[in-house]
C-alpha cells in the first residue's frame, strides 16, 4: 500500500489486514514501554489546512508510538497564510525528507492531487478532504464495531450481516462516505436516515437504502446507529427550520436509545453537539462507543502508518 486516499480503494483483505494489525497495536498502550521501534528514522508530517484536535493528536501519538519523528504543520501560522500554494508547501516538505504526509484539507481531492502530482515522493494519508472522504475514521469505526461484536475473536473477521444506520448530515459528511464504502466492503448492510435536504440529490450509486424517518429506523433494530455531527461551519443554507426541530426529528434522544435492541451500539465520530444530534444520556450510555472510538483511533492510525511505511514497496 502506497497511499491511503479513499476507502473505496481498499479490498476486503487489505481492510481486514489493517484491522488485525490494529488489534496488536492496541496492546502497546498497556505495556511498560509504550513504544515500538518499527518506524525508527522515518518522518511523518501532519499537514493540516483545517482545524482538528482528535485526528491530528491521534496521528501524532500513533507516529510517536512507532518511534517515527513527527512534524506538525498547520496552515495557521505558516507560510500558507502568506499565500504559499499547495505545490510549494509539498516541495518544501519533500526537501525536508518527509516519508509520509498526513493531510487534511477543505478541498475535496487535495490528497489525491498531492499523491498524483510528483511534487513529493512520500506516502499520502487522507485525514479528511472537504466533503469527500476520511478513511482512517471509517477504519476505526469498523474496528470499534468489530471489537464490540466479537471481542477477542475479532481477528480475521469482517462485518458480514451487521446492520448499520447512519443518521444526520450525510450531504456534507466525509465520515459517512468513507464508512459507506468500507463497511459495505466488509459485508455490512447500510441504511441512511436524514432530512431530505441533507442527503445528496442522487444516492443511486451508493450501496445503501435511504429513509427519512429515524423512529422507523430505530424500531427496525439495527446493530449499529452512527450519528453524524451537524457541521455548523458548512451550514451555509437553511437545511432545516431550527435546531429544535432537527433535534426532535433526527436527534438520538434518551427515549430512542431505550428503544434500541440491548446489544446495539451508538457511535459518533466527534466532536459532539450534545442536545442537538445526540442527547447527553445517549452519548454517555453503556451503548455509546464515543470514547472507545478515540482510543481505537490511535491503534488504527498506527496500523495504517505501519502498512504505508513498511514493506519493500514503500
Amino acid at each position: 500500500m502506497r497511499h491511503l486516499l479513499s476507502t473505496k480503494d481498499l479490498t476486503r483483505d487489505n481492510a481486514i489486514a489493517i484491522l488485525d494489525v490494529a488489534e496488536d497495536m492496541a496492546g502497546v498502550a498497556d505495556r511498560e514501554v509504550k513504544k515500538l521501534p518499527a518506524l525508527r528514522g522515518k518522518t511523518v508530517v501532519n499537514l493540516f489546512f483545517e482545524d482538528s484536535t482528535r485526528t491530528r493528536v491521534s496521528f501524532e501519538v500513533a507516529a510517536k508510538r512507532l518511534s517515527a519523528d513527527v512534524i506538525n504543520f498547520s496552515a495557521k501560522g505558516s507560510s500558507v497564510s502568506k499565500g504559499e500554494s499547495l505545490k510549494d508547501t509539498a516541495q518544501t516538505l519533500a526537501a525536508m525528507g518527509a516519508d509520509v504526509v498526513v493531510i487534511r484539507h477543505a478541498a475535496s481531492g487535495a490528497p489525491k492531487v498531492l499523491a498524483d502530482s510528483g511534487w513529493i515522493d512520500a506516502g499520502i494519508v487522507n485525514a479528511g478532504d472537504g466533503t469527500h472522504e476520511h478513511p482512517t475514521q471509517a477504519l476505526l469505526d469498523a474496528f470499534t464495531i468489530r471489537r464490540r461484536l466479537y471481542g477477542p475473536d475479532s481477528r480475521g473477521r469482517g462485518l458480514d450481516g451487521t446492520t448499520v444506520t447512519i443518521v444526520g448530515d450525510i450531504l456534507h459528511s466525509r465520515v459517512a462516505r468513507s464508512n459507506i464504502w468500507l463497511l459495505t466492503t466488509l459485508g455490512a448492510s447500510l441504511r441512511l436516515v436524514a432530512p431530505a435536504t441533507l442527503l445528496p440529490v442522487n444516492t443511486s450509486g451508493w450501496p445503501v437504502t435511504v429513509g427519512y424517518d429515524l423512529d422507523a429506523a430505530v424500531d427496525a433494530g439495527p446493530d449499529v446507529v452512527m450519528m453524524l455531527r451537524i457541521q455548523a461551519e458548512r451550514m451555509n443554507a437553511s437545511f432545516f427550520p431550527s435546531a429544535r426541530e432537527y433535534s426532535r426529528q433526527w436527534g438520538l434522544d434518551d427515549e430512542r436509545v431505550a428503544r434500541l435492541p440491548a446489544g446495539s451500539i451508538v457511535m459518533h465520530p466527534g466532536p459532539m453537539n450534545r442536545g442537538l444530534e445526540i442527547s447527553a444520556g445517549a452519548a454517555d450510555s453503556a451503548q455509546s462507543t464515543v470514547l472507545e472510538q478515540v482510543a481505537n483511533g490511535v491503534s488504527i492510525r498506527m496500523a495504517v502508518l505501519f502498512h504505508l511505511l513498511s514493506g519493500s514497496d514503500a
Binding site: M1, A17, D20, V21, E23, D24, M25, G27, R31, E32, V33, K35, L36, P37, A38, L66, R155, F306, H307, L309, S310, G311, S312, D313, A314
Partner: protein, 181 residues
C-alpha cells in the same frame, strides 16, 4: 517437490520431551515463588507459540504450576521491515505475572540467521527485565549471521542456504513432520 522428511510425529514428541527434561535440569528442578511460575516460556509466532504450549504442558505434567506460557510477537522489532513485503503481526501474550525477575525461555521452530531472536531480545526489553533469557528451538539449521546460540535444540540439521526447511504441526497444518528440500 523432492522434500525429504527428517522428523516424524514421534521424533518431534521425543525431542520436546527431551528439551523439557533439559530445561528442568538446567533450572535445578522448578520452583514457584508465591504461587507464581518462576519460568516463563514465550513462543515466537506462529509455530513457536504451539511448541511453547506443548513444552508447557509437558513441564506442567512433571511439576504443576511451575511454568507460565505466552507468546511474543517480534514483527515490529525486525531489522528487515523495509526490505520485505509488509508482514502481518500476531498477538503478544505476556503471562499475568510478567517477566521481571523470571527465567524466560524463548521458543521457536527453526533457528537460522538469528535475526528473529535478536528482535525477540529487543522486544523482551520493552516488557521488563528477566533474570535470564534462554533459547529453545526444534531445529537448528546453521548459517548464523549474529552471535546467537540455542540452549536447547531438538535436532541439529546442517543445511544449505538454498534448501527450505518446513515445520508442520498438527494444530494448524494437516500433517506433523519436519521436511527439508
Amino acid at each position: 517437490m523432492t522434500a525429504r522428511s527428517v522428523l516424524q510425529q514421534a521424533d518431534i514428541a521425543r525431542a520436546l520431551t527431551r528439551i523439557s527434561h533439559e530445561i528442568l535440569e538446567s533450572n535445578r528442578g522448578l520452583s514457584s515463588v508465591d504461587g507464581e511460575a518462576d519460568l516463563v516460556l514465550l513462543g515466537i509466532p506462529t509455530r513457536g507459540v504451539l511448541l511453547a504450549r506443548r513444552l508447557g504442558a509437558i513441564l506442567d505434567g512433571i511439576q504443576p504450576g511451575a511454568v507460565a506460557v505466552g507468546a511474543l510477537d517480534v514483527t515490529m522489532y525486525r531489522d528487515d521491515l523495509s526490505k520485505n513485503p509488509t508482514r502481518a503481526s500476531s498477538p503478544t501474550e505476556i503471562p499475568p505475572g510478567g517477566i521481571d525477575g523470571k527465567t524466560v525461555i524463548l521458543v521457536d521452530d527453526v533457528l537460522y540467521s538469528g535475526r528473529t531472536i535478536r528482535a525477540a531480545l529487543d522486544a523482551l526489553n520493552d516488557f521488563g527485565r528477566p533474570r535470564a533469557v534462554r533459547l529453545a528451538v526444534l531445529i537448528d539449521r546453521g548459517h548464523r549471521e549474529l552471535p546467537i546460540r540455542a540452549d536447547f535444540v531438538g535436532k541439529n540439521l546442517p543445511s544449505s542456504a538454498e534448501e527450505r526447511i518446513n515445520v508442520r504441526l498438527s494444530e494448524i497444518d494437516d500433517s506433523e513432520e519436519v521436511t527439508i528440500g
